[in-house]
């Protein structure tokens, strides 16, 4: 009993520490700094398939030189052309390049992906680059919800296979906590979409749609369990539903990769890879959210155990009568 409390405490402490570190890192370590290009000293475009790779050396307003090396598509730039002219030029005088991570003069911005808009009227890069930092919370939240629903799948299967109260308790707890994280992912995504796309939700987007369905499924799961009389058939039905519902997780995860989707693919695709800084902060976020999940999960199971204890006591009382 005491050991469990100690583990809970350590988990909660770690979660809080990691969350604070992530927030600070997202805000300060991986800032998006605008680099207002005043002069393009050297500039070269290479076409590889659909991508434009840009190399160049530019000066900002203060005259400091920055090397832009091997800039590929995707992630973090607002291209506001001073004079919309030569599209192929990519970077021209007056371009504002938002760079993820610290700007280090002279060292350059090597390997930091910057997207060059194809059309100045419809920039394909981030319209609202600061909002893109929600990425450090949105992705870990989505990942944690997938993890949580994975736990629901495993525990539900184990419950059907072997039986045993604890599997059911774990599945229920994981579903509820996972729903919280799924809500965070959906809401943060919608806020970001408003900033970036100009509207909260796009119903034609398969990624958004499938995640929404996933969200609905686990709302249904929690609703089936909520307030229901404790009876053996409910855990069994819920377990079956949890297994069916998990089918939406791979659909949600893969949808933007299988079908065309507005949703950016940043992690683990050929479309873009993260810079070392962004990757590090993202990993930090994933660890922090997983720890928060573990803490909440442990608390939720404790509540469920107490509920069962209460029912046990009540039964004892009835027996004593």
């Amino acid at each position: 009993m005491e050991k469990r409390k100690l583990i809970d405490f350590v988990l909660a402490l770690l979660a809080v520490i990691f969350v604070i570190v992530t927030v600070l890192a997202a805000l300060y370590y991986a800032p998006l700094e605008p680099l207002d290009v005043s002069t393009v000293l050297y500039h070269q475009d290479d076409y590889t398939g659909d991508d434009i790779r840009v190399k160049g050396v530019v000066q900002d307003l203060s005259g400091t030189e920055f090397a832009l090396e091997d800039i590929t598509s995707a992630v973090f730039i607002d291209v506001s052309y001073a004079d919309s002219g030569d599209l192929d030029a990519g970077i021209v005088n007056g371009t504002t390049v938002y760079v993820l991570g610290r700007l280090e003069p002279d060292v350059g911005i090597a390997a930091r992906e910057v997207e060059i808009a194809d059309d100045p009227d419809e920039p394909a890069g981030w319209r609202s680059p600061y909002s893109a930092k929600i990425f450090y919370f949105h992705v870990p939240a989505a990942w944690t919800s997938f993890l949580a629903f994975g736990v629901v799948l495993v525990c539900s299967a184990a419950y059907l296979w072997k039986g045993g109260q604890k599997w059911d308790t774990w599945a229920l707890s994981s579903a509820e906590v996972g729903l919280v994280f799924c809500s965070v992912a959906v809401i943060s995504g919608a806020l970001w979409a408003k900033a970036e796309w100009g509207y909260y939700w796009d119903w034609n987007d398969t990624k958004l749609f499938s995640t929404f369905v996933l969200w609905l499924i686990f709302i249904a799961y929690v609703a089936i369990r909520a307030g229901a009389v404790r009876h053996e058939s409910i855990p069994r039905v819920a377990a079956i539903f949890g297994i069916l519902g998990f089918a939406a997780v791979p659909i949600s995860f893969l949808s933007s990769r299988i079908w065309t989707s507005l949703h950016p693919n940043v992690v683990a695709t050929s479309q873009g890879h993260l810079s070392a800084e962004a990757g590090a902060v993202l990993m930090l976020g994933v660890v922090a959210f997983t720890l928060v999940y573990a803490t909440l999960f442990s608390r939720r199971t404790a509540i469920e155990r107490s509920v069962i204890e209460i029912e046990g006591i009540k039964e004892q009382l009835e027996d004593a009568e």
């Binding site: 369905v213 249904a220 609703a223 229901a228 009389v229 058939s233 409910i234 069916l244 519902g245």
Partner: protein, 225 residues
Amino acid sequence: MTLDALRIAQKDISIELRTRERMTSTILLSLVIILSFRFALFGFDMELSENPHLVAPILWTTIFFAGIMGLESSFSYEKENKYLDGLLLLPTSRYSIYLGKMLANLLFLIVVDLVTLVFVVAFFAYEPGGAFVTLLGVILLGTFSFVAMGTLVSGMTIAAKTRQSLLQIALIPLIVFTVVIPAVAATSKIVSGSGDVMPELNILVGFGILSLLLAYLLFGHIMED
């Protein structure tokens, strides 16, 4: 197994013919929905002959609403009146019970579909013309797919013994992608006379068969106390 399922379906149908409760209330609901659409669109001076793509949402909104209402009473009729144990005591597999219920629901909903189609044709002066057979095919397949999963989930929510009915909340996320969108998309294509509906039909048939398979695997588990 099939014979048992047919007998259970026949029992449901003869009860329905006796009481006509389900059919009357569902068809009335269908009428109300269609009339609401009619007056809403009439207010905007819209005619279906000019906007044939409106047929799809009107038709399927009605069918899904009426269908959920019908599915809900399918098992709750047995449960609330405490007949369910009688079915479970029959020397047949649980899957036959599912199949029987599914067939009765399917037949019931097909009647509602046809009546709704008549309403749409009558109130909106919509003429399917040559597309009639394909339209009917899509409606039947959509209904089949909907009923196959709906009967399974209906059994589930009844077995869960929750106080309020959770059929809608549990069913809708499962059918949005798999039934609602393909059915509406295919109907839109047919009424506007453009596009190939085979991909949608494949999804509907595939999901219907998948539901039957899932029911085969799960229905025994669901119905056990």
